[in-house]
């Protein structure tokens, strides 16, 4: 638990975009902070708006974005298109889920990697050296040969390593990883997660890991935020949330993690709400076993409880 300075702070972030006549409130007021060296997991079911959140941090998602995203003391929302471009890649970077479609199929791996350096002012030769070195760091064999090969000549895992290399190339202050391993088969997943962990440690990168898999979060993150229907229901230290989940939704999610073989899983009834008209009051109340009438009418305020922030009327009681 190191208390050094804050790398990134998100205040009341809202992302709404319109689909036909309806407006989707994918992210509806979110606050969290990422400290130096933190590995902050954002966990939620699919459709909870977590990918939109990831993209909005680097201001790449379509739709109306409001609120504040402060990285290294600079609010990204106030930057012009020209300025934000300088930030992207150097101060903040992102790793996507689909390695196969994230790379340009008709361009050599080397060129795509060197591009990160050359765009930010490095000379060609220096970019080549650094890219070569990067491929080695992310564990890709025969780096020189790989520089000249094309994406389709690499395996899924190998490609994800290239994407990671690109993301950490300029030692950014914040790395966002949006479901980095879910597209890979299981054996490769572990390797990639390990790689992410080691890189984060050795380069002191603070990362935001977006995933739907509690296990992945537990594996490499120290802090965690649970997202539900566009809102952050519980944020805090991973160990304490895992040991004592306060928000009913977090508890339900915890129940879904297979601990041993004996226990059978308690499936969560109902399905994720429609983000274009979320339920009144607390958005989880229709599926919440502890719901009271207040939950159905009044939206719970985020409540600071020892090292945690919970948005639930009955936090602490249950």
């Amino acid at each position: 638990m190191h208390q050094n300075n804050v790398v990134a702070e998100v205040r009341d972030l809202k992302v709404h975009y319109s689909m036909g006549s309806r407006t989707i409130k994918a992210v509806d007021g979110i606050d969290f902070t990422v400290r130096e060296g933190d590995r902050f997991a954002i966990v939620g079911e699919s459709g909870s708006g977590k990918s939109t959140l990831g993209l909005s941090l680097i201001r790449l998602c379509p739709g109306k974005v409001s609120g504040q995203i402060i990285v290294d003391g600079v609010d990204l929302m106030k930057l012009s298109e020209e300025e934000i471009r300088k930030f992207r890649g150097s101060k903040i970077s992102i790793i996507f889920q689909e390695p196969s479609s994230a790379l340009n199929p008709v361009m050599k791996i080397g060129d795509q990697l060197m591009e990160v350096f050359t765009v930010h002012g490095y000379s060609k030769s220096e970019a080549y050296q650094r890219s070569l070195q990067l491929l080695k760091t992310v564990g890709i064999p025969e780096a020189e040969k790989r520089m000249q090969s094309y994406p389709h000549q690499l395996s899924g895992g190998m490609k994800q390593r290239v994407v990671i290399a690109m993301a950490i190339a300029l030692n950014p202050r914040l790395v966002i990883a949006d479901e980095p391993t879910s597209a890979l088969d299981v054996t490769i997943q572990a390797q990639i997660l390990n790689l992410l962990k080691n890189l984060a440690d050795s380069y002191g990168l603070s990362t935001v890991l977006i995933t739907h898999d509690m296990g992945v979060a537990a594996e490499i993150c120290n802090r965690i935020g649970i997202m539900y229907a566009g809102k952050m229901v519980e944020v805090g230290e991973l160990e304490s949330i895992f040991s004592n989940p306060m928000h009913p939704y977090t508890r339900a999610l915890m129940a879904c993690i297979p601990r041993g073989l004996k226990e059978h899983l308690k499936p969560l009834s109902g399905h994720v709400p429609d983000l274009s008209n979320p339920p009144e009051g607390c958005r989880f109340h229709p599926r919440c076993p502890y719901a009271k009438d207040i939950c159905a009418s009044v939206e719970p305020k985020p409540l600071k409880l020892d090292d945690r922030v919970v948005s639930c009327h009955r936090a602490g009681e249950i």
Partner: protein, 312 residues
């Protein structure tokens, strides 16, 4: 060694299918042309010629032999690339074709280049300014271009540039000036087509994930467009231009008729009208060969642009 071997195997396979198609085509033409009424010997001898003269000519042309013998002789010659002698002019078919072929190729190449040089950039602009005024203008131009009948366009151009302003010759060949109107007529249709496909394919490529990755690396919109998107977007354009180039050779018949351009298309039409069997068969054979070569070239070009594609 492995890629060379597979390339050779590929070429052999392509040549084999080409041979079968060509033989099929030549047989079809052989039957078609002979089932057209009208006797070549009589056409050659002229309406006022006597019956004996017509029979004499028929013998000289070898038309009195039974059909299947004529067919085998023709196939035998075809393998030695001997296309026989034209009924009408007594000179070898291959010379007549070689005298006309460059004109058709010249027209096809210049109009295709003009269409590509103008079409691709316009397509890219239309895509990058999607929804804007310029995009609307370019899209309507491209839809109108495709719907414009080539022969009407040709006439209108003649009406304006040869009749009213007498700037350009109405037809014929010889000086580069003669090339302008026919090339513009063909290029306009082709360019409209290219603008449409380029725009669609650029838009399609813009939505791909690698564009977002590029953005996340801090590249500007324009750099992404020219460095990443364009190369991907050109792949479908190459195939379509290749196909269109083949169709262009076919379309030459009309443009060459309007502009009196002494190309292969017109030669075939004249030969059909004068029942010059060897000439019709020979020129269509060369046409088909050219068409196959263009398709092969497009496939090879395809593999150059898109590394994922191997000659399989």
């Amino acid at each position: 060694m492995e890629p060379v071997l597979s390339a050779l195997k590929y070429f052999f396979y392509r040549l084999l299918t080409l041979a079968i198609t060509l033989v099929g085509l030549v047989t079809l033409i052989f039957i078609l042309i002979r089932s057209i009424p009208g006797d070549p010997a009589r056409v050659l001898a002229g309406m006022m010629a006597s019956e004996e003269d017509v029979n004499l000519i028929r013998e000289q042309l070898g038309l009195n032999q039974p059909i299947y013998i004529q067919y085998f002789i023709y196939l035998k010659n075809l393998f030695t690339f001997n296309l026989g002698v034209s009924f009408r002019t007594d000179s070898p078919v291959i010379n007549e074709i070689m005298a006309r072929l460059p004109n058709t190729l010249l027209l096809a190449v210049t109009s295709t280049c003009l269409a590509v040089i103008l079409g691709v950039p316009l397509g890219v602009i239309a895509a990058s300014r999607k929804g804007g005024k310029l995009d609307l203008l370019l899209s309507t131009f491209s839809i109108a271009g495709i719907s414009l009948p080539i022969y009407w366009l040709g006439l209108i151009l003649i009406l304006i540039f040869s009749v009213e302003f007498r700037l350009l010759p109405a037809g014929g060949s010889g000086t580069p000036l003669h090339l302008i109107l026919p090339t513009v007529t063909i290029a306009l249709y082709l360019m409209a087509f290219i603008v449409k496909i380029t725009k669609a394919s650029v838009i399609d490529s813009m939505e791909k994930n690698y564009v977002i990755t590029a953005k996340s690396k801090g590249l500007s919109e324009r750099t992404i467009l020219y460095r990443h998107v364009l190369k991907n977007a050109l792949i479908p354009v190459v195939t379509i231009v290749g196909l269109q180039f083949g169709a262009l050779l076919g379309g030459a018949v009309i443009t060459e008729t309007i502009f009196a351009w002494p190309g292969l298309g017109r030669l075939i039409v004249d030969s059909i009208n004068s029942r010059d069997y060897p000439m019709v068969q020979g020129s269509i054979f060369i046409f088909a060969l050219l068409y196959a070569l263009v398709n092969l070239a497009t496939d090879i070009l395809y593999t150059l642009i898109d590394p994922r594609v191997r000659l399989k």
